[in-house]
Amino acid sequence: MSLNILAVDDSRTMRDMIRLALEPAGFTVTTADDGVHGVEVLSGIAPDAIITDINMPRMDGFGFIDAVRGQHKHRATPILVLTTEAAPELKARARSAGATGWIVKPFDPAKLIKALQMVAG
């Protein structure tokens, strides 16, 4: 079962880490550098799940989730928020923006995979 994942993070290190965690597990990973770029990239692919950072230039994670959910075909696409901030109000905000779940950085690759399988099959 190979899942297509879109990972949006402004930190190259994080993007590399996500790639390193997911690709050996058979995921196909596409990355974008920020929310705006993520929306651009999304128009060319049909990911099974999306991972996004919150703090990003140009368009942050909340804006990105809004934009994704605003597209009809992505109303139900699972979106995991990947963030260093675990404050409950941030989770609440992510959820009200339409995020499916969240993972706290630094993440454990096994947990990330579990979470993705949990939301995207």
Binding site: D10, R12, T13, D16, L20, P24, Q71, R95, G98, A120
Partner: protein, 710 residues
Amino acid sequence: MSAPDPMAEIRASFFIECEELLEALQDGLEAMADDSGDLETINVVFRAVHSIKGGAGAFGLEGLVRFAHRYETVLDAVRSNTLVADGDAIKLFFRAADHLSDLVRESRDDGILPEAEGNAILTELDALLGDHGVAEEDEAEIEFQPLGLSLDLGLADLPAPAPARFTIHFAPEPELYETGNEPYMILRALAELGSCEVTCLTDKVPQLTEFAPEASYLKWTVVLTADVQEAEIVSIFEFVDGLCALTIAPIPSDVPAPQDVSNDPLPELPEMPDLPDLTPPPAPAAEPEPAQPPAPAAKAKATPQSAAKSVVRVDLDRIERLVNLVGELVINQAMLSQSLESSGLSPHSDAMNGLEEFQRLTRDIQDSVMMIRAQPVKSLFQRMSRIVRECSAAVRKDVRLVTEGDTTEVDKTVIERLSDPLTHMIRNAVDHGLEPTQNRLAAGKPEQGVVKLTAAHRSGRVIIEVSDDGGGINREKVKQIATDKGLIAADASLTDTEIDNLLFLPGFSTASEVSDLSGRGVGMDVVRNAIQALGGRITITSTPGEGTTFSISLPLTLAVLDGMVVQVAGETMVLPLNLVIETLTIDHSNLEQTRPGLNVVRVRGEFVSLFDLGVELGYRSAQDSYLDAVVLLIADEGGSRAALIVDEIQDQRQVVIKGLDESFYRAPGIAAATILGDGQIALILDPSDIIAQAQGSTLAIAPNLMELTS
């Protein structure tokens, strides 16, 4: 983390990213400091620190995480307007940024983190937040603990008592679907825990006429038999907590298990993917589509060009090799053209035309290779801004560094090797260039001194200038010191420029009291040597009361040069082509003698001093007549011009610069050497140096100089 190798690579890439982030941090802070920033600036600053923290956490760099976290907390307060960043706060932020960059470096090199300094800065940072900050800090510390709940489903590790049984009632709310969650996945995850008996309750599904496509009608009851704690089951529902009605109740073990808690609850499940069809595409029901989404999309269109360029990282050694190979290619090509020419081929023959094309390509390749090595001087300048901060604090002067031309690109090697000389020059500017505060005020200047650092491309060279708005060079004092030290004769009559140049003499120091800052036993002579080693020149201009400017002129590349090949007294020499303005022939109409031994040539109404290159280089004695001699009019960066007499102009061509190493005597006027197409070695001249020597600006000094160095 299975393979250690990719991790090491990501780690390396993380530190490269850190450099970029630190640069962005500096930029942001500078924008905040001179108030040119906007709302986004603080966000950029915050994100830079935040991203460093994020990456550092992934690599377990705890010291770095700890500092970055508390720094970030303060920046977050500024970002959310609970803290106003005044001048002092920004200065502290700069120091914190400097410290952060130290931490990054130490973490990268597995060095020892300077804890004490960090703690001092953290204490000051925390003080900015006041009581509020302490409270927030506590909360934040907790917040940064790795979350225990998460998704740890590690079944295998658990002890296996008698299988527990649970009854789970699960009724999704519409919001569960809106956030992209899917009951099927949750049920499947439950099934992975143990054996499940799943019942779907469809009694709420209305008649088709009343069916609302986006409402949530289905509920499930699951009887789970598994060797798990209740917390594990709860963790499966973590993402949907609050988005569904959920009860999880353990079934007391004395209740007999239903016979058919079979081992294959899964066959039931494959049908479940159909659920989304049954329960229509999950999405908000009657609510209108949010109006905002189109806006971000439009924004996306508007700024695609700022998306990060894709980058390939290449080992510097490989580039070095490429540069060397291209250098050899240039030599080879020159040899080939020479042999084709001497074979008597017509210039219009195919071979010659092809050669011309070949030449053009070589040139393009060379330019491209040079471009690979070129880097903006920005990182160098940012390092200097730190030097200014540190050393202005050490001598208790208020100094602002202004930089211009940060994006000017210079060969990477040049940037690296400029760091030390520039550091020294900046320290000099702060320590000696700028007057003490009370003198500035007395002179009617603003209390804050300005050190300016600029970079620009000018006629194929890079010009880097360090200037201050201080008191200028005290020439009386300089001359006095030089006389006292026996560097010049007491009665020597020197022009202002000549006096200024005394600063470059070995062992010269003007500070009457040596401060712990620039009095490190390194004089401007070392700076000049370093610049010369890069094929550059350094000049001073100073105006009393207004300040001093040191100007460094460097070649764009260290590898090749467009040269004019000339013959002088039987020797083949190369002059940098970019310095040659024009060539002319001497006749009666343009030759003048101002005094015996000093000839000038008139060029378009201007008189330019005339030098015989053969004489200046010591190949021959002065000729009786220079009529009909070939003259090259040259100009250096400083704008001073001179005419050099040569015997013959042979060619214009690219030459590969081969440095003369330490074992050669450093002859004045000679910059380097090259290998010509015929395999001969020719010296590359530094005309500015020749002119400087000839004009006697250093003549008065030279004999003493020889004594000192011998």
